[in-house]
Symmetry: C2
Subunit: 207 residues, 2 copies
């Protein structure tokens, strides 16, 4: 039996979800919450298998509630359930630790399958969310910049927090040489300091 907590501030939606879930023999709604704070309280007290969480809720939004639950009770899985949100909002939900992200517009069977998948330790993603995750991790097609092997080597050590002197010692060259490589990196990445160079390189996926 999969124990479920339903968190949504719309009574209609709550009722619909509860009816849908209770009709299944292997699913059991152990509680409902109307705010983010309430969702966290019940989740921590009852430790359901799955929390069906709306993103927009009073007091504490779904992201924050998800993060709080996961911080204390990581074994409680959270499925974000929403009508439609911006890319950032969706990614925030996943980053907060949600194991699933479904749209309310999804067919009922898909929703039930999602809940069961998450309870089984898998993930449930709406196609749109999956596409966003892929683009998030995929590197830009053509690296707009080409660092020389030596420059890349130096930049990696800079990212590890080594000083120019320390980098020089590790590469058996003078400190000045390291600086020169770094300056070339700055030019190619169009930045003026080592810190921004590292973040730029990460944005460009070359680190």
């Amino acid at each position: 039996m999969i124990r479920i907590l339903v968190a949504d501030d719309h009574p209609i939606v709550r009722a619909g979800l509860v009816a849908l879930l209770e009709a299944e023999s292997d699913l059991e709604v152990i509680g409902t919450a109307t705010t983010g704070v309430e969702a966290v309280e019940i989740a921590l007290a009852e430790r359901p298998d799955v929390v069906l969480m709306d993103l927009r809720m009073p007091e504490l939004d779904g992201d924050a509630a998800t993060a709080e639950i996961r911080a204390v009770a990581p074994e409680v899985k959270v499925v974000i359930l929403t009508t439609y949100e911006s890319d950032d909002a969706i990614l925030a939900g996943v980053e907060a630790g949600a194991s699933g992200y479904l749209l309310k517009a999804a067919p009922e069977q898909e929703l039930l399958a999602g809940v069961r998948a998450v309870a089984a330790g898998e993930v449930a993603l709406a196609p749109r969310v999956a596409a966003m995750l892929v683009t998030r991790v995929s590197r830009p097609a053509t690296p707009p910049v080409a660092l020389s092997p030596r420059e890349l080597e130096v930049l990696r050590l800079v990212a590890d927090g080594l000083s120019n002197r320390a980098i020089g010692e590790r590469l058996f060259v003078g400190e000045s040489t390291v600086k020169t490589h770094l300056l070339h990196v700055f030019t190619k990445l169009e930045v003026t300091d080592r810190t921004r160079a590292v973040t730029r390189a990460m944005e460009l996926g070359i680190l």
Copy 2:
């Protein structure tokens, strides 16, 4: 009609895939490749809608071939198709720009659905791959460190490449003050320089 290129160094697998795909009325295999280099050549010459790409191939592995194709012809979608690989290998495929990642063990219908989804501009992910993407972007449950609002503000500006002086001006405080905040950040993140602080903060998901 969806035009497909099959790239795999095993003749048996190639034959099986071609037979499966050609049996569908809306799918058409326009060529086969046995090495990564060959796959890139044919993909760029024929511009198929979808490339079914094995990860392990002679001369050029699937990741590299995918990246090359995507760099020149981003409209050609690539589906990585493999038996089983390590987490790193799978993520590398997605990072290289693959739109799909399926397992050869998947049911035939799932494979066909994946090809059609990718051709339609969506993504096709095996459950295992989806789970990996989620854990990749999700932040650690409990942020092991808690920066003060001011410290976080300063660190963000540091990540943008601003000097301490420039940060001070933007926040209407002295340069020394900025340094103090930064030193507190260093202590909390257990680092000794601004660059490593930024990378650590990114690792910890607090930036």
